[in-house]
């Protein structure tokens, strides 16, 4: 036990002495989290609309009025030919072209010859295009039902959808993004410092010196892990505290429970970093291998793209992604207020994962030394 404490002290001394590296592990990540959370916004607004009105009638201008009055459309361009429409779409200057056909008004009034309105949508961003199409259809449908009620048609029935957004009624992205980004940045840094630290000792040869001391393997490993475990805590809670102050992220559930999860969780990225360090020879290799895993973990954790729509094999691989669990636990505890009964399977999984990966790393470590 004393040995471990001595080693922990030595690691901390080394960390604090390295003036150039220290900010990268502590202050910068936290600043980054705050800055990036401001970016967290998929909200589709300020759409730019192109209007190509071939009819120039009262009805068509009524329809156009409905579009320009909608809150998502900010700017409008008048278009008179397809070339202009293509040009504007090419320059990313408009998102949607509304094409109202000739004889629109005439045909509305005739039965059995409904006019066709065309939407030309810039679909480079597929999810945005889907939403734009839904907005536009909703506006047109609204227009139609007004026409119908003016015509006093009887017998038509209407179903009115009412939407409730639970857990995040104002649809504030920041509330869910901040804890997720904190977890991501923390994991990135933990894997990286842990992987680099041991490799560096090997590269500059100080590990040989440690090997000839009466230090046991597990003492050595624990002495390495504990300081980084503390740094992980610092990054996470500093990020969460600032998030609370700046973005007022909700904390419905128990923070103690979140800490319990964090304490167990941290051994997973630590173990991964340690394992990488046993599998490579130079710092550069350690870096590239860490980079590979980190970017996989971050992009597949479900924060930026949904996990459910991934193909089965990817979901299966994703079971090994520690961040996936963290993002889910964040949502469950902070937003939904889940208790120990819902969280306990996650803690158990992380516990098993942590033991497994660290055991693997220690086993490899014995072999390489």
């Amino acid at each position: 036990m004393r040995n471990i404490l001595v080693l922990v002290r030595k690691e901390f001394l080394q960390i604090f002495r390295n003036r150039q590296l220290l900010p990268f592990m502590t202050v910068l990540p936290v600043i980054q989290v705050i800055l990036l959370t401001f970016a967290a916004n998929y909200e589709i607004k300020n759409l730019r609309l192109g209007i190509w009105d071939l009819d120039q009638s009262t009805s068509s201008s009524q329809l156009i009025h409905k579009f320009t009055g909608a809150k998502f459309f900010q700017e409008t361009d008048l278009i008179t030919n397809q070339k202009k429409a293509d040009d504007l779409l090419m320059q990313d200057a408009i998102d949607l072209v509304l094409v109202i056909p000739k004889d629109f008004e005439k045909n509305i009034k005739i039965q059995n010859s409904p006019p066709t309105i065309q939407f030309q949508i810039n679909a480079l961003n597929n999810s945005k295009a889907g939403i734009v199409q839904n907005y536009a259809s909703a506006i047109t449908q609204d227009f139609m039902s007004e026409l119908r009620s003016n015509a006093n048609v009887s017998g038509s029935v209407k179903i009115i959808p009412v939407t409730n957004f639970w857990y995040n009624p104002t649809l504030n992205y920041k509330t869910i993004m901040l804890p997720g980004i904190v977890a991501e940045v923390m994991t990135l840094i933990i894997i990286l410092i842990c992987a680099l630290n041991v490799v560096r000792e090997r590269e500059i040869g100080t590990i040989e010196q440690l090997n000839v001391t009466p230090l046991k393997k597990y003492e050595f490993i624990l002495g390495k892990l504990i300081p980084f475990w503390v740094i992980g805590h610092f990054i996470f809670w500093a990020g969460i505290a600032l998030g609370r102050l700046i973005f007022h992220i909700p904390m419905v559930g128990s923070l103690g429970l979140l800490e319990l999860f964090l304490a167990v969780f941290l051994f997973v990225p630590l173990g991964i970093g340690l394992f990488i360090s046993t599998a490579v020879e130079t710092q550069q290799q350690a870096l590239f291998t860490s980079f590979f895993f980190i970017i996989l973990f971050i992009l597949m954790c479900g924060l930026f793209t949904p996990v459910e729509t991934m193909p089965d094999w990817a979901q299966w691989v994703n079971q090994l992604n520690p961040l996936k669990y963290f993002v889910e636990v964040n949502r469950l505890i902070l937003l939904k207020g889940s208790g120990i009964t819902e969280i306990y399977p996650f803690i158990l999984k992380m516990f098993v994962y942590g033991i497994g990966i660290n055991a693997l790393a220690i086993w490899r470590f014995k072999k390489t030394n």
Binding site: Q20, L36, F38, T116, I117, I176
Partner: protein, 343 residues
Amino acid sequence: MILFALPIALVVIFGYALNNDFKNIPIGILNQSKDQTSVKLIHRIIGSGYFVVEQTLEKTQDIPKAFKSGKVKLVVFFPMSFQQDLYHAKKAQIQFIADASDINTAINTTSYLSGIIGEFNNENGRENSSGIQLSARMIFNQRLLSVYLFIPGVIALILLIISALLTSVTLAREKETGTLELLSISPISPYMIIIGKVIPYLILSLLNSFLIILLGIFVFGLPMVGSVALLILACFVYTIAALSLGILISTRVETQQAAMFASLVTLMMPTMLLSGFIFPIESLPLPLQLISNIIPATHFIILIKSIMIKGAGITLIWKPFFILIAMTAVFILVSIQSLKRNK
């Protein structure tokens, strides 16, 4: 070897796994009305292909449980009075209760469902009056595939990280081992040192970028509408910008570890989140839009999309080219300054 294997593995994994294609969203149904119209509407919702009914709920108290278990993303709720209202008042409410802890899915599901209801209403009314038909043309991406969005982003991210990392770490390593001292007392000018350092990595990174793009075209069906020469030029300019950024970092740090942290920590997340790869740039707050403009990947993503997908010519995209070249010049000038100062 690892330098080629890593990016390719990443592009393949992300190309297949990352998608926000809207399909098979698990929903729950709570139907207290159980009348003809509600059953018809449920069939219509399932028939759309966007949703899968994962759970049929019995009472409103089941809703929180369904959400907390994470099994469903949304509950469609037909209240008891649905049929009566529809019959007497000619209109009735149904409720969409969305789990908004996952905001994107919440917005998408409710907006798709509202669309389905709108169509349903329309058809029911059509027998009595004429309607308007809608047709939508999805320009540039007819099938609304998400690879169009993700592949350019992944290419930009991987190229930047690899090129910047490679150069910054190599130079820092020479500093650590002291061989840079040797070079600097030799009669070689600092310009020469930098050029000599960059060329091997330039070739490596360029090969990498071509490989990734070919993969995008042949495996993921990315279109190649524009000119190949322009695309090569874009890769060339971007790679040089990334490499010179790496040099700049290396002149500012003392050790390999610092170089790595500087390139990985300060480049990776901002490049991912502010370049338009994950969040649309239009929806960033203004100060971040400004930052987004000084991130090389932002301009490269515009270039790739414009050339490959839209087939834009040089007249439309000279601006991002110009910005990337200007950035490179700044990076190189600043690093030469600091190299000279060290001397």
